[in-house]
Symmetry: C2
Subunit: 280 residues, 2 copies
Amino acid sequence: MAPRKHIIGGTAPLSVDSRQRRILDELQARGSCTYREFEKLLGVSSMTVRRDVDVLAKRDALIKTLGGAQYSNVPQFLYETALSERIAVNRAEKDIIADSALKLVQPQQTLYLDGSSTCIALARLLAKAQFALTVITNSAIIAMEVGVSPTAKVLCLGGDYDPQSASFVGVLAEEACVKFFVDTAFMSTKAFLPEEGMFESSIAALRIKQLMAQRSAKLVLLVDHSKFGQRSLCRVVAIEAIHTVVTDAKSPRAALEVLRKGGRQVVVAGGSEPEEPKAA
Amino acid sequence: MAPRKHIIGGTAPLSVDSRQRRILDELQARGSCTYREFEKLLGVSSMTVRRDVDVLAKRDALIKTLGGAQYSNVPQFLYETALSERIAVNRAEKDIIADSALKLVQPQQTLYLDGSSTCIALARLLAKAQFALTVITNSAIIAMEVGVSPTAKVLCLGGDYDPQSASFVGVLAEEACVKFFVDTAFMSTKAFLPEEGMFESSIAALRIKQLMAQRSAKLVLLVDHSKFGQRSLCRVVAIEAIHTVVTDAKSPRAALEVLRKGGRQVVVAGGSEPEEPKAA
DNA sequence: TCCCATTATGTTATAATTCTACATGATTTC
DNA sequence: GAAATCATGTAGAATTATAACATAATGGGA
């Protein structure tokens, strides 16, 4: 991952990063560009340009067109962070989980959503659903996603910005937390053990989760199957604090059984319950 | 040019117009589509779909991609608000103004940036400049933009989310304001009169501006020429509170003279100083 | 009503592009 | 200093796009 610096002589080739940045700069300035033009501009082969453009397209930083690329007005912050990749991982499962989570929401409720990618998926559905809701979050992205809904009121915790999750943590966020009390808090987690609870690697994020878990009437955990059976740095809450676990059909059945026996409500998204038929 | 209506029997082929409309509808709903999918969906040959897509692409209604087409307006994603349009208006001027504003920033400083589109432009430059800075803002977008810089610390005010500006206002934001004191506050404004000061139409946004103006050692106003000579609902601060005004070369000279005589520092971006030549 | 001009569509062949696999040189790591 | 990793380039295969032509359908006239 370390950037290569091969400064040889005469014309110093650009590093991968700066070359990709120049591609974006050029697109921003000109709107669109062909591969040929990029080859000349950057002094590399067609294949290298294509590979760069592929990387940037995967991050939605640009749009691939026929013989080249076109500027995308998706703001820069999204592709500079690892966030867009996190959103892309297991996207189908996350969407299905979010869909099931939506059914746990009633109009007029007050919700908390953390900054996880699964909650981002839920936020999109909430915005579409046009419920009258109050949504509290510490995620800048969720604030913006839900904010497009004219029927939802959005409140965001301030604080130190964490670029990894695009959310706010720290003293300011913690102070803001204690002013609220919500009906349902939706959270995801880095790792989850059915016998022990949910784990988090970032201490700052952990404290927000803990505070909001205490301040919610109902705590709903959204976890796709990849989270099961792992442990991480610190435990957020014990298993007893969790009211409902929403997961996908690929999760280990044994683990779900443990949860049910422990008294948790378990929702397997896309599993037994038939998906509602899409309104024709 | 007359649309053909060949309603024969059984399966009624769509007219050209309604077929193209369906292509756009499908793209708006799904984001992107392949030619194959369109063929099946519309029951026509590959070539017909391609011709339709060509027509629509010429109108910028969609973007042609490799095996299909993509919706052009970056759908389903972030702000469907007026924000992206606000950013686009007078973009060149805003970039130039931001460039000049950047020169007023020293490493190690603490800055405040409001949620204006000019400040968003500045935020991008700050992130690129890789200064060691602390940036306070009430804009979700600026938090994310500056947040990509590994050298900058970003603090965001929380509060009620305003989708028009993608920024936070209200009681929570006001409470957070009073905890800070910054070296320089950069703000823009809806309207600006050189004899009177800056104006704002939203009361909630106004209060944040007022509070942060009081809490900055230096207040820098970023205004493109279109803001001059207008008045709006409420005055944010009197002209005396403003230390520096950064504007573009199209601003009325008389107004700038008034400002200079009143003791303001006036920076005309892209004026006397030569732009750095673009690397060929 | 018939015929012709026009438009719309489908088919095929050809040209261009994109993707895949592999080979090479550079850089880092142990 | 050697192995592993990464970045890049080359060439051929697969896919896709374009162009040219053929056919079918419509709309006006005569």
